[in-house]
């Protein structure tokens, strides 16, 4: 009983610390965005035709509050952000947060399916390469993984489109296909058409991470196969499979989880490239377009949402890590 209360107290301290950190991260992000937004360009240019007079543009800028001093704008932004209003997207003419939430399912589903591909391909391949390092198949896999890491995502994506859409006509070349709406969540996972559209983008997105994980699992596993307790297990006469998949693999997982958590962030960055090529209407695509249109409110909102995702993911990874390895204590405990 006492133990539980102590844990609760620890959890509480941990949560408070994380939230404070999160708020601090948000403040830094929003401040940085505000300082650089003038370098991105003038949003007014994008919402008027080119022949509109300078006076008209000036009037619009005044109305949008873009002429106010930096601090006035920033304080106004913070005041509204506290109430959950991060501003109106200049291009979509809708609240920026709403626009982002509407596009989030696309990116989350893409990242989800890519993660599945990475997990279900890297684990068996990685283990195989560790167990049979000298076989021809292992060498081929390792060779291909080098190639995979070195080809940029957009090139992989365009190659996939040309092979499977243009030449073979097997898979669609762009977009998300038919969606089913459950609440506000437009899902492509529930239709055959949606899955067809998902295949190429998710392969393209996983092409960067997959080789990395194969190599990581292989090297970890090979190291562990050399350790004393595995040798002991062999000596005890345990079955091969038990040694490989239970004893060795479980211990391989720890560093893989850590790297996985960190790489999830990188994956979000790579969605920008993948989504642009496949006209995948998600957050990455939204971000690139917002930069081109100098839609600064949307940019600030996007970066803040991504900031939140990072904080949450890192927190979850920390918690999982603590669960998997009792030697690691949650930060905040003494």
């Amino acid at each position: 009983m006492l133990l539980f209360m102590q844990l609760d107290g620890l959890m509480f301290a941990f949560t408070v610390r994380r939230i404070t950190q999160g708020i601090f991260v948000m403040l830094v992000i929003s401040f940085l965005c505000f300082t650089i937004q003038h370098a991105i360009g003038d949003p007014v240019r994008d919402i008027v035709g080119i022949s509109v007079s300078a006076a008209e543009r000036e009037a619009l800028r005044e109305k949008m509050g873009l002429n106010d001093p930096f601090l006035t704008q920033y304080v106004r932004f913070l005041g509204k952000a506290v109430q959950g209003d991060v501003g109106m997207s200049f291009f979509f003419k809708k609240p920026a947060l709403k626009v982002i939430l509407a596009k989030a399912p696309a990116t989350l589903e893409l990242v989800f399916v890519s993660s599945l591909i990475i997990i279900f391909a890297s684990v068996p391949l990685g283990i195989y390469c560790a167990i049979k390092p000298r076989s021809i198949l292992s060498r081929t896999i390792m060779g291909l993984s080098i190639v995979g890491v070195s080809i940029p995502v957009f090139l992989t994506a365009i190659m996939l489109i040309y092979i499977f859409s243009v030449e073979l006509h097997w898979l669609p070349s762009y977009g998300r296909g038919q969606l089913v709406y459950i609440g506000g969540w437009g899902s492509g996972l529930l239709t055959l058409d949606g899955w067809k559209h998902l295949i190429l983008p998710s392969i393209a997105l996983s092409s960067i991470m997959l080789p990395l994980f194969i190599r990581l699992i292989r090297s970890q596993m090979m190291e562990i196969l050399e350790t004393e307790y595995i040798k002991f297990a062999w000596a005890k006469g345990l079955r091969k499979r038990r040694i490989w998949f239970i004893h060795a693999f479980k211990n391989t997982l720890l560093p893989v989880i850590t790297v996985g958590g960190v790489q999830l962030g990188t994956m979000i960055a790579f969605t920008i490239l993948t989504e642009t090529v496949f006209q995948w209407q998600g957050l990455g695509f939204l971000f690139i377009e917002a930069v081109e249109r100098a839609d600064t409110t949307l940019l600030v909102a996007y970066l803040m949402v991504v900031g939140v995702i990072f904080v949450v993911v890192n927190t979850i990874v920390d918690i999982i890590y603590g669960l998997v390895n009792p030697m690691v204590r949650i930060q905040g405990s003494k």
Binding site: D42, R45, V166, S173, V277, Q279
Partner: protein, 528 residues
Amino acid sequence: MKKSLWFIIGLVIIAIIVVMTMQKKEEGEVALAGKTLKLAMDADPVSLDPHVQLSGGMLQYSHMVFDPLIRWTKTMDLEPRLATRWERIDDNTMRFFLREGVKFHSGNPFTAKDVKWTVERLKKSQDFKGLFEPFEGVNVIDDYTCDLVTKKPYSLVLNMATYIFPMDSAFYTGTDESGNPKDAIVKTGPSFALSHESGTGKYMVTKREQGVETVFEAFADYWDINSPGNVDKIVLTPIKNDATRVAALLSGDVDFIMPVPPQDYDRVANSENSQLITMSGSRIITFQLNQNRRPEFKDPKVRLAIVYAVNNEGIVETIMKGTATAAAQQAPVGFAGYKPDLKPRYDLEKAQALMKEAGYADGFTCSMIAPNNRYVNDEKISEAVVSMLAKINIKVNLKTMPKAQYWDEFDAQVADIQMIGWHPDTEDSANYSEFLVMCPNKETGYGQYNSGNYCNPKVDELVLASQTETDPDKRSAMLQEVEQILYDDAAYVPLHWQNLSWAGKKNLNIEPIVNVMNFPYFGDLVLD
């Protein structure tokens, strides 16, 4: 524990299969409904309100959902749409006789009061008010007759009438749920007109998810039953990436794409399933030489030397791969001011001689800016010009940037040589000069994009006179004289007119519906 997990997974799989089979049926039903066109453009209309932005995209949309009073044909003649005929009453008045029995999508009948209402709204629109400044307004004579009145004689009354897409005044009158007027033109937030439409056009917007998909379906009571067009439904998807847009056409995922990136012209034209249509456009690409920043550019000989040094035919051939037309004047063939004998003049030796004559045989150093995502190959073109100018010893420091940053820099005139492309909203010669070469004047707004600061009173006088000249021949002579002066003065460096391009599957009759304005008339599209 494990058993229940498998049970849940099993349920999910069954649910997915059920949902999928249900959708199969829906697809089958849709296929029976009529001819559908899958259209991919580089962007979708920014809103459903035709007056919120003056841009090619919004006008393309207007031609689908609304109808103008009159419109341009392929040969740049005017053809009746909602106005069946028109006649000049006096110097300031043009009378339009309107088509009877036309209905808006809401079911309201179309009458002269809608025209009056629309013109009043245009005069309030930030983007259109400049174009409609010369107009006094509309006088309603009866339900099907109205007079378009200008403040003084104006030569472009009919050009402007192609921009009057009558809106359903009854539909847009009143207030929406949040108490805002339905006809408000809002650039910064939600509004009724941004998300609702009622025009007289062939297509109604039945579904719209901005940036993802817009669905247009044929309006049952459309007036133009003589049009050969047989497309009942258009699904518009924006595909921004050039390679993906072409791939979507080649793989058969879409039926029609615009624009086609020049590097893929051959691939599209040679494919078994697709056809390519190109047409010389009216957007002129130029460099302006800033005379206020560089005293050297005040000397016409230096400007001429630069024009002689720039091999714009070479640029068209090598960089644009023949997908543009080299220019020596602002307006292309078919425009009032076009002068056929003005030809591109590349002559390096002459350029070097002119530099020597001007006293700059050793050249000088200057700066240049250009956008890198605004015009076709803009960055490569400017790099080519830099190396061409090096041959007459002008060393140019080039800086390129995305269009979101470019126009502020352009306005601030941060560099000695600046790139600008121009397409006249009025489809008329005078518009180029008004914005690009007339003396910059903050009050009148003329010369708004004249970063060269070229200023010639004779040019200003001729262009202003052309505005009120209603005799087409006299007017044409004035505008041709303007082009001649600009040519002789080397007021700016002309490069080329970009080609327009469209591509589609073989069963589409694209040729008859496209035009130099780049407003494809989808209502008239025939699918075999």
